[in-house]
Amino acid sequence: MIALLRRDLTLALRAGGGFGLGLAFFLIVTVLVPFGVGPQAATLSVIAPGILWIGALLACLLSLDRLLALDYEDGTLDLLATAPLPLEAALSIKALAHWLTTGLPLVLAAPVLGILLSLPGPGYLWLVVSLALGTPALSVIGTFGAALTVGIKRGGLLLSLLVLPLYVPTLIFGAEAARRGALGQDPSTSLLLLAGITLATIALMPFASAAVLRMGLR
């Protein structure tokens, strides 16, 4: 399992691994928003938590079609399916590798980009906390979507359409927690629900992903 994690991280960091893709997209979205809606700090600070969350979610979505498609094309998935490692564990590891290379950089970059959007002072902590709690769910759900569309050529469109509705609960509670935090209100209810969603998806989704992947490999 460690070997698989290490291999995925190495591949992501080497040329053509797509490590910076999500991060660059996140940066572009948040830099462009002030140009689009105007530079008034009052407007920006109201929408900042929501924009940052949507940007992180779309950045995550962007990298999903590489998650399993490359391994499918070169036969790695066939060989992993016949290896002693259970497919559920292999997919959990791949989701973890995806989070470490996509989700975690977004969490770390979010406070810096918050400055660009005049995020109010108390919001930074809760923005980071809500993203740290929510982005693992995005990776795990995304792995399910990638497993579902694995054999389909250019499955990126279908993948996005399938995964977006599953992302909505995470977005609602994540952005709500960040928004309440920015307004100086108590964000704990939203954070608890967000943590609940993340834990439930981490516990259950790998089984669903492995089941659909086995069908996809037939």
């Binding site: 460690i2 070997a3 698989l4 291999r7 190495t10 591949l11 080497r14 040329a15 053509g16 691994g17 094309e73 070169d74 036969g75 790695t76 066939d78 060989l79 992993l80 399916a81 016949t82 290896a83 002693p84 490692l85 069908m215 490999l217 037939r218």
Partner: protein, 206 residues
């Protein structure tokens, strides 16, 4: 423990391709599958490897004992030869990759990125992967594609070494591998009758 297959019916894309397949493979033996293109060799091998369920019939002695190799080698272009082999070795709980490098003469290439290898060299690396799995039953789908005569001989020697160690091999191929001791099975005789759709509807709708 022999690999034994009894009365297997297999479908590809919902259409049965093979029916009544029975065979048995003892440790230390190799079986070469022959048959024209589209006769179901790949389907049979994928089913034995556990990648696809059969429509009916039983497979014994295959679970967690099969090392499967097909047209795609599961190699990453941006990893070196050593990194690729070490990864597969640790997935299968093995450590030593030197035997595999030795058998396919890959020592000189071991620091090269797999993406820079020629097709034949990639294939050799893909086959070397079998040696680091430690699995007793090799299930190989056209293993010699893009290999030159010298590499085919390396492959035959590797298979022979595997058989001598008590392993067994099931190989689908169109060429002569120089494995005179291997049994040969022509799977054309298991061909399902045209239009037979026994139990196919389930598959078609999945």
């Amino acid at each position: 423990m022999p690999l034994s297959i009894h009365d297997l019916t297999l479908a590809r894309g919902g259409v049965p391709v093979l029916t009544g397949v029975s065979l048995s493979l003892q440790p230390g033996r190799a079986l070469i599958l022959r048959g024209p293109n589209g006769s179901g060799k790949t389907t049979l091998l994928r089913t034995i490897a556990g990648l696809a369920p059969p429509l009916s019939g039983t497979i014994e002695g295959a679970e967690d004992r099969v090392a499967y190799a097909a047209h795609a080698d599961g190699l990453k272009a941006m990893l070196s030869v050593t990194e690729n082999l070490t990864f597969w070795a640790s997935v299968f709980g093995q450590k030593d990759i030197n035997v595999a490098l030795e058998a396919y003469d890959l020592h000189d290439l071991k620091d090269r990125l797999a993406g820079t290898l020629s097709a034949g060299q990639k294939r050799r690396l893909g086959l070397a992967r079998l040696l680091v799995t430690g699995r007793p039953v090799w299930v190989l789908d056209e293993p010699t594609v893009s290999l030159d005569a010298q590499a085919v001989a390396m492959f035959a020697a590797a298979v022979r070494g595997h058989l001598e160690g008590g392993g067994s091999a099931l190989i689908a191929t169109h060429i002569d591998l120089g494995l005179s001791e291997a049994d040969v099975l022509d799977i054309a005789r298991f061909r399902a009758a045209d239009g037979a759709l026994v139990g196919a509807s389930d598959e078609a709708f999945l």
